[in-house]
């Protein structure tokens, strides 16, 4: 990579941005070298990755362009970030003297357009604040990932994020209307806001999910919707068999119902969420929107689900109240850290997707392999939280005790091993190894198996937009590939 010294890099950044916007505090730099993928190391304040040269806070697109040009000219690795809620290693600084570009200070909502039902905002606008402000006006983004209290708009687009109400509103790919991005070399591109276009390939999809490996997102325009919580209807059921639950989800989607929430929790995951699950799987739905539609949706789903065997309805109030406390903010993260340090017990998630005909097979194969091959597991469970007409996701949740190993060894002894097993089984059955968390660096090692022959398209995109390889090295496409042991990294 770059031949410039750390001091030279910092000096040039100060020339471009001013000293106020360039942070070189050692603690900040170390904390900025990783994300929650290395949660155990993070809790123990163990930092094994190269420390970045600086964390810079940008205020406008021009500053981003200047920094990216400087980085590209000098072959300096750049890691874009906004809300820092990444959990797949996407924010790790794998190269020496990287520059972390933080867009959280670009936090203005530029335009709320209630005629065209769009909102335009800078990349650092927090989703929670945006949605709270919109709700006060009677609107919503419809986007509610569990990271909502932390996440910001740029990162949400960069990771192809998805929210809890996706079955109705879609994922971020359905919400993004237009955007402004900056490519290496400082090239600024704007995609305009139109309802649909047929003018060649949809170039928004170069931006969506690029995970900072192709460009820096400076501005986004997303759709907004009317906010009608007064019509919400909740439905909940205990289900004897997970397979029945998947079939229930499938039928709801195939019949054309569009609940905003459709979830299936297995026994283990149910036990950790619901004190009334009584050793059963739990299937739950929420219908949202105009009153007539929500009523019809709820009635239709209820009738459909009750036709399935082994179904016991539960009081919808239980679902409503549970749902209100699903999101994770700084308080939950702080409490989690305390528990991890006290117990050496850590919980992680890996989400995948698959078509209906294979999803239960993937689920069962993973649940069969993990207890046999992974030591010290204390819990394995999973739930489906995003369904489509042709399939669904499974969000595996697992906890393990970290036994007899240093914080920096935890990754390979447990986390990467579990990830590998889940990804192997998913690929074996033809599913996708990441549903909405992104590849990051964690699952980039399996990108060849994921893409198959179409890896040519991803690699060509990377070469075209980032020919000098400065954008978030190791994300999407791994730096090195160890064919024998792809998960030792």
């Amino acid at each position: 990579m770059s031949t410039l010294s750390r001091e030279k890099i910092v000096g040039e950044l100060i020339n471009i941005l001013g000293a106020d916007q360039v942070v070189t505090d050692e603690t900040v730099l170390k904390e900025s070298s990783l994300d929650r993928y290395r949660k155990f190391e993070q809790c123990h304040k163990v930092y094994t990755l190269p420390t970045p040269a600086a964390v810079i806070y940008v205020h406008n697109t021009d500053e981003v362009a200047k920094v990216l040009k400087f980085a590209d000219d000098n072959r300096i690795n750049v890691v874009p970030r906004t809300g820092q809620s990444a959990i797949e290693g996407g924010l790790e600084t794998l190269a020496e003297n990287s520059i972390v570009i933080d867009g959280s200070t670009m936090n203005k909502v530029l335009k709320v357009d209630t005629t065209n039902m769009q909102v335009t905002c800078q990349c650092g606008v927090p989703l929670q604040k945006l949605d709270d402000d919109l709700r006060a006006m009677g609107y919503t983004t419809g986007h509610s990932p569990q990271s909502k209290p932390l996440a910001q708009m740029g990162g949400l687009v960069a990771t192809r994020s998805i929210g809890q109400f996706s079955t109705l509103y879609g994922g971020i790919e359905d919400m993004l209307v237009g955007c402004e991005v900056v490519f290496p070399g400082g090239k600024v591109c704007r995609i305009k806001n139109v309802p649909r276009r047929s003018v060649g390939p949809d170039i928004r999809h170069i931006v969506l999910g690029n995970e900072g490996a192709l460009c820096f997102i400076t501005e986004v325009t997303v759709k907004i919707f009317k906010y009608q919580p007064e019509n919400n209807i909740y439905l909940g059921y205990k289900v004897d068999e997970m397979k029945t639950g998947f079939e229930g989800l499938r039928r709801v989607m195939v019949e054309g119902y569009k609940p905003s929430v459709a979830r299936l929790y297995d026994v283990a995951d149910s036990a950790s969420h619901f004190n009334w699950a009584d050793g059963k799987n739990v299937l739950l739905f929420m219908a949202e929107g105009p009153a007539a539609i929500t009523r019809a949706t709820a009635d239709g789903i209820d009738a459909l689900v009750k036709e399935l065997p082994g179904i016991t309805p539960v009081d919808p109030v239980l679902i409503e109240k549970w749902f209100a406390h699903l999101n994770w903010g700084p308080e939950e993260i702080a409490k989690e850290r305390e528990e991890i340090l006290a117990t050496d017990n850590i919980g992680i998630t890996t989400e995948i997707s698959g078509c209906w005909d294979v999803i239960n097979d993937i689920y069962e194969a993973v649940m069969d392999r993990l207890p046999k091959e992974v030591p010290d597991l204390t819990m394995i469970g999973g739930h489906s939280s995003h369904s489509y007409i042709n399939g669904t996701n499974v969000y595996f949740t697992y906890y393990y005790n970290v036994v007899d190993c240093k914080p920096e060894e935890e990754m390979n002894k447990y986390h990467n091993l579990i990830n590998r097993i889940i990804c192997e089984e998913t690929v074996r059955f033809g599913g996708s190894i990441a549903h909405h968390h992104g590849l990051g660096k964690a699952r980039a090692h399996y990108v060849y198996e994921e893409y198959g022959s179409s890896i040519y398209m991803l690699e060509t995109l990377k070469k075209a937009f980032d020919p000098n390889g400065i954008m978030n090295i190791g994300t999407l496409i791994p730096v090195n590939r160890n064919d024998k042991n792809p998960w030792i990294f």
Binding site: D20, A324, A342, T343, P371, M379
Partner: protein
């Protein structure tokens, strides 16, 4: 050495919505049925301490048997299963006859049930109780229990470890001093505020190995006959919530916007000057 842990589970009130608190303030009843149960934090510390004593005893070849008991309903079964997986050889549930929410239990009734239960068991050397529960917060049960059992009671215990000969080295806080002493059974230890004592998590393997361990059920009625009269639930009844009021925690605040850091500091300083 035989150790008994008396523990209590409570609804995770952090998950209670503001609406439920507010509606509860007018009705005097807060609906917690949808909330997850969690271990009362002091009891959790006590359970973890027992695990540590047991671990230390194994390595020094001292016999140490731990039993966990709770006064509750079937909802606490999963907690007892967890204790079994962690090596508690006794996992006992004192099941209430009525369906009253456990937060309505009087301390006297709880202490009476535990007393009667203990009288039916092979003698315990040490009984560990948490300082107080997160819902009732009365802090009376351990003292009542010790009084009626006629055993020594040490409160505000912050550490225990095997001391040889079936005794424990006990660290407790007394006013301004920390006291360390060797304690012989039978004694009741009230576990106070100890940092970093989350209960360890059993592995799946440990859970599978303990799957066969039964939870012994005791019904309230079968224990009632041996209540001390003063703790008889017929006379002590239950505790009922009669009124709750939200505590207003609003603060006076001013909001100002300033993008320049030095100007912002100036504004803050001018504001601060009013208070000094």
């Amino acid at each position: 050495m035989r150790i008994l842990n008396c523990f209590h589970t409570i609804a995770d009130l952090d998950l209670l919505s503001e609406d439920d608190w507010i509606s509860g303030s007018s009705s005097g009843y807060i609906d917690t049925c949808y909330l997850k149960q969690i271990l009362n934090c002091y009891d959790e510390s006590a359970l973890e301490l027992s695990c540590r004593v047991r671990e230390a005893s194994i390595s020094s070849d001292i016999s140490c048997e731990c039993t966990a008991v709770t006064v509750s309903d079937q909802k606490t079964k999963s907690f007892l299963e967890r204790m079994a997986a962690l090596g508690f050889t006794g996992t006992d549930l004192i099941q209430l006859d009525d369906a009253s929410p456990t937060e309505n239990l009087s301390s006297e009734r709880t202490a009476g049930l535990l007393y009667s239960y203990i009288k039916k068991q092979t003698a315990f050397d040490f009984i560990l109780c948490g300082l107080q529960s997160g819902d009732g917060a009365q802090g009376k049960v351990p003292f009542l229990l010790a009084e009626y059992l006629g055993i020594r009671c040490i409160s505000n215990v912050t550490g225990i470890s095997p001391a040889g000969d079936g005794s424990l080295s006990v660290i407790s806080q007394r006013d301004a001093e920390i006291c360390t002493e060797t304690v012989h059974g039978p004694s009741l230890l009230i576990i106070g505020n100890i940092a970093n004592t989350f209960l360890r998590v059993p592995t799946l393997r440990q859970r599978m190995q303990s799957r066969g361990q039964k939870i012994t059920l005791y019904h309230e009625a079968e224990l009632a006959s041996s209540f001390p009269e003063e703790l008889n639930p017929a006379t002590t009844g239950t505790v009922r919530l009669t009124n709750i009021e939200p505590v207003l925690q609003q603060r006076d605040s001013e909001i100002f916007e300033e993008t320049d850091a030095s100007k912002a500091a100036g504004v803050l300083f001018d504001y601060y000057k009013k208070w000094i």
